[in-house]
Symmetry: C3
């Protein structure tokens, strides 16, 4: 029934490795050690529902690879392909392309756009090594490959739960709203999938000016069993939810902010500000001050309850208003801005940067801050670790620049290892494989330049693939 | 009559290629394909008069290589050689060196300053491959080489029009004031040189505070046949001139700004502001607001008439007041500043960034914005393309950093290919050759690391050398 | 008596060299030429007392390698080792670890933290090549190595004065407070050690708001024999001190500032501001304006007396208040901020940037300014030179980025060569060796890519190792 016949598409077993034979030999040796290690995924956006229900499926190839992946759709959009033609659902219910085979064909015709991009590498790896596609995706091959993928996806071994085992994932943290009931995680844990863990994300609760903020506060109150009528109630409800997440196995919290501005408000100031917000009296300035205060407050909670705090900074969301109006958020129109860490983070670090109970992992979209600010900060404050290259920089060159710019100052042991930060579950092994390849090649470069002994490189390859993430997120199996 | 005898100066045929034998072999193969392709020069500053008159000549070696080239004179100046001694004409008519042979000798004595610089590479290539100089330029060889160059320059095959053919230039865009009568282009086209095209540059018309602004407006009015007594007249005159440029084959407009700040003023605001400017009532703030408004207005015109919009941002001109006072602008004292694109360009992109008629090509002098802002913007907005590394970054490492920082996020197809941006006509082949070498070597690096198939690399080598520029500037021969 | 027996620790003779055999061969050839050249150390922080007294000794291995070295202590602190346990003296006289052998053991247990860092490279080189340690430092070997080091340090050939000769140092500039009596230098010169020179550092005299400023002014007045009751007195006292330093062989001054802001105050403004400061009436804004003014005033003095002016910018000192309170400054908690040079330095450069008597050497902690601002500035203004990569960037990759980002625009001859900027006297040869290796490897890379002739590379290797520093600091032996 499967008409698919393999053709010419081959991935180099040495991809990401330097051409130099000496360096390549060392890289291969290091990679051989870490290639099969279990995957630690301490930060990501996989929907727990996908894994909780044994009957869940990925849907069509277009649903798996194209429609929900803004890495893919933004690139096609940048070259003139309307999002409607890619089946991206419109907010206003205007019709969009619903023929998934046509969406796939359109994607295949533009697949050349992903040459020399990480998305291109992940897709090639996923098609080849996960789905067994052996010819190159093109307008001509699109139909055959679609058939092949459709057939594969119908097979039980391509159900999400089946892949969860096959991927050898030791830890998978999802990212969940603070008011979430974590029902999917309850089911997962009941089914023995204890390694799927929630992460506490309270961003919606501090976005005072968003229209849905009152609804978010109400939901928090319901979930926590606390009537949130004051700032003190708010803090109590947050602490209650954190405790619940922790019971459910959460290792960490996650926070996004436009800037890393932190500043503690006095008790009176924050009480007044919050009371005004409850009455609908807020402006952008009040929201920024509240965010700056709450980051310190979340640091305090982390110091007390031990949840690792993650901070992702610097994305100006929904830059394209027309796309946002028609299609909503997360459509490839989030654009970074420059980020100042040294002064902005100082109040938070004064309060908790030296606290041995506290752990803060930082993620940036401004690479100029790697060597100037982040590495010196992480090379001093005991609480700090540097997250891996994020988003646009989760790429071969992004990783190389990160290693080159960060390690000499921060050392390797102040890094937090890798996380894939993806909602595309099926791409997880490809993303970790890229990190492992690039980190082994980078270590090999140090070895052949006489800057690292080969036994040290072996230890560090393990650390970068597994150990650092394990310790940064204080991961222990139950 | 030509006493010149070749000596030891040899350029490596593999210059710019990695030492690694595998990578070098691929680079050579790619370069062999693109090396002889015609040159597309969609942005530059060659004087059309030089090409329009068959009798035009380059002048002496000092006039060709030194006196007008601020890349050369600034480096000698930085090491203590007065500009007067290099024959740079002074504004105050104080005498400067007029013995071109002495100027050449001075230059040759300091030629070592250009080691490891792009100017050094261009000059070596030009001397060797265009003029047949085979010994190295030094204090000792200066006189012999001067004689040789003088003899060559006297020959008809070194006339600018002769070189235009020899260079295999398929398109050469000049940059012309909005009020220019384009008489040289008329003559060029009458002589069948249809591939020399004007570019519409209206910068002088929006510099409200410059002393010559009233004169510029008057010249615009005369050229357009419009009496410019209001903002509406101003817009009408600009549109008239754009139409004329377009009739004369213009493909693009060019705009320089200190920052990419854009903000649309209301009709009333801009009418009032312009009326005040006509009465001489302007300040720096009004000028900045007007520039921010006009960039959006020029985008509107481009969307309507189809001229590609180029935007060069970030140079603080005439940083050295003493040099400016004595020698005027363009003497190597323009210094970059940091540039914010994400927020500044948002109003313009909201208005026209999704418009399929509109094309905007961006050029930066702040490399920290490559990966942080420009690549994400170009990887989303259909109207955007990224111009090649500009000015100081038109160099081996500048190109490598550009590829490394930009392509993974923006993809290759959101680049605008190469342009030489030079007023030094005779250096054009050397500049394109450097780009072609570096881009082939970069592609070869991807191939040997297993990140790109060799047939893809061949296609991309062609795109980087020719195809991208052709499409970015919508170039079609008449 | 020395029980130490060599074991397995070996440093590659080719460390820092590319793996590519062609590049490595050229790098070796270049390095062979410069490896044994005398060391020029025109900027550093070695205590002159250490060298002036023949009886001075380094103390214990912990005193030599750990306790005073904030590069070492900050990394251990970042991984949770309290500074008290490293024997760092506390301001409040709380007890800290005093058992040096235990401090050493703690350091050895954490020595893996320095993998892939410059501190790790320097330490390995120093232990191996200076002290003859041949096994790797680890928890297991710590005790044996401590014994070995202790024995070595007791030998007369490891006295500081003995090492000064062995190191082949041709020039060693210390950094000295403006009011210093330079008694140690007097003794050094009397003993024939004319190559130990003071450097004039007046920073404490312009920090108007620091509690000890009145005491600093009083000390200046005493040293200069001037009662400082006005700004005019202050300038006279500074000029007097500079003349004294110059008599004592000073080549340069050194200035640190948070930003390179410069702005000349009027005579009246500065007189009033200074008078207020003497009355204790200052705020942060007044101090910043005074600093901006004084930088221009120091430039004037340098133009007049010929002392080379050094400017180190961009470190936010004492970021960690808790560490500062307990342990004081210089404990690894100085964090860089982004730095704007183009506009900030313009007033100073307008005044003296073209002055052939003036020399200004710039040091940055913001690498994004290398290619954007510093290289264009240095490639134009005759007075400017770029200092080597500083502090966090005095590293293999830091040097490589510096060469890649700076040289194409500024040229090599606008660089100031290397300086070690260290207070760790025994590490000086290791630091210079790293620079020489990396610069030779970088030049070799240019050679094998056909971008530089091999004879040119030899000249430039010499320049980078010796010639540039010699000329930048106008060094001539007495």
């Amino acid at each position: 029934m499967n008409h698919y016949r393999p053709a010419s598409r081959r991935l180099s077993p040495d991809r990401c490795f330097a051409a130099d034979p000496a360096q390549r030999a060392v890289a291969r040796a290091l990679y051989a050690v870490v290639r099969e290690l279990p995957l630690l995924c301490p930060h990501g956006h996989v929907q727990p529902a996908l894994l909780a229900a044994p009957e869940a499926r990925f849907g069509s190839p277009a649903e798996l690879f194209i429609i929900p992946d803004h890495y893919v759709t933004r690139m096609l959009y940048s070259q003139g392909v309307p999002l409607e033609e890619l089946g991206v659902p419109a907010r206003d219910d205007r019709p969009v392309e619903s023929d998934h085979r046509r969406i796939w064909q359109r994607f295949a015709e533009h697949f050349y756009l992903f040459r020399a991009t990480p998305t291109g590498l992940w897709l090639a790896d996923e098609l080849t090594n996960l789905f067994g596609v052996e010819e190159r995706l093109s307008a001509e091959s699109a139909g055959r490959i679609y058939d092949h993928l459709e057939a594969q996806l119908a097979r039980p071994e391509f159900a999400p739960q089946a892949l969860l085992k096959r991927f050898n994932i030791a830890l998978l943290a999802t990212t969940d709203a603070a008011a979430d009931d974590l029902a999917h995680h309850q089911r997962l844990h009941a089914d023995g999938l204890n390694h799927i863990r929630p992460t506490f994300r309270p961003d919606a609760l501090i976005a005072l000016s968003r229209p849905d903020w009152p609804a978010q506060i109400a939901a928090l109150g319901r979930a926590a069993g606390v009537e949130v009528a004051s700032y003190a109630d708010f803090v109590r409800a947050l602490e209650q939810r954190r405790a619940f997440f922790q019971q459910m196995g959460a290792l960490a919290t996650d926070h996004a902010a436009l800037t890393p501005y932190t500043h503690r408000l006095s008790d009176g100031e924050v009480a007044t500000l919050f009371a005004r917000a409850l009455r609908g009296e807020v402006d952008a300035s009040a929201e920024a001050r509240f965010t700056g205060h709450m980051l310190i407050e979340f640091a305090r909670m982390s110091a007390e309850d031990g949840l690792v705090m993650q901070l992702h900074v610097g994305s100006l969301r929904n830059h394209n208003h027309a796309v946002f109006t028609r299609f909503g958020p997360d459509n490839g129109a989030d654009i970074p801005i420059s980020t100042e860490w040294t002064r902005n983070l100082q109040p938070l670090l004064h309060a908790y940067g030296d606290d041995p109970r506290f752990r803060l992992i930082l993620f940036t979209l401004d690479e100029s801050s790697y060597s100037r600010e982040l590495a010196p900060l992480a090379g001093h404050y005991p609480a700090l670790r540097l997250g891996p290259p994020w988003w646009f920089f989760d790429s071969v060159n992004g990783m190389r620049r990160y290693f080159d710019l960060v390690v000499e100052t921060a050392g390797i042991y102040n890094l937090a290892g890798f996380n894939d930060d993806t909602r595309a579950f099926a791409s997880i092994p490809s993303r970790h494989d890229l990190w492992r390849r690039v980190s082994c090649d980078w270590l090999a470069g140090l070895v052949v330049q006489g800057l690292l002994a080969e036994d040290e490189a072996h230890e560090l390859a393990y650390e970068l693939a597994y150990g650092l993430a394990q310790r940064a997120y204080r991961w222990e199996t139950w």
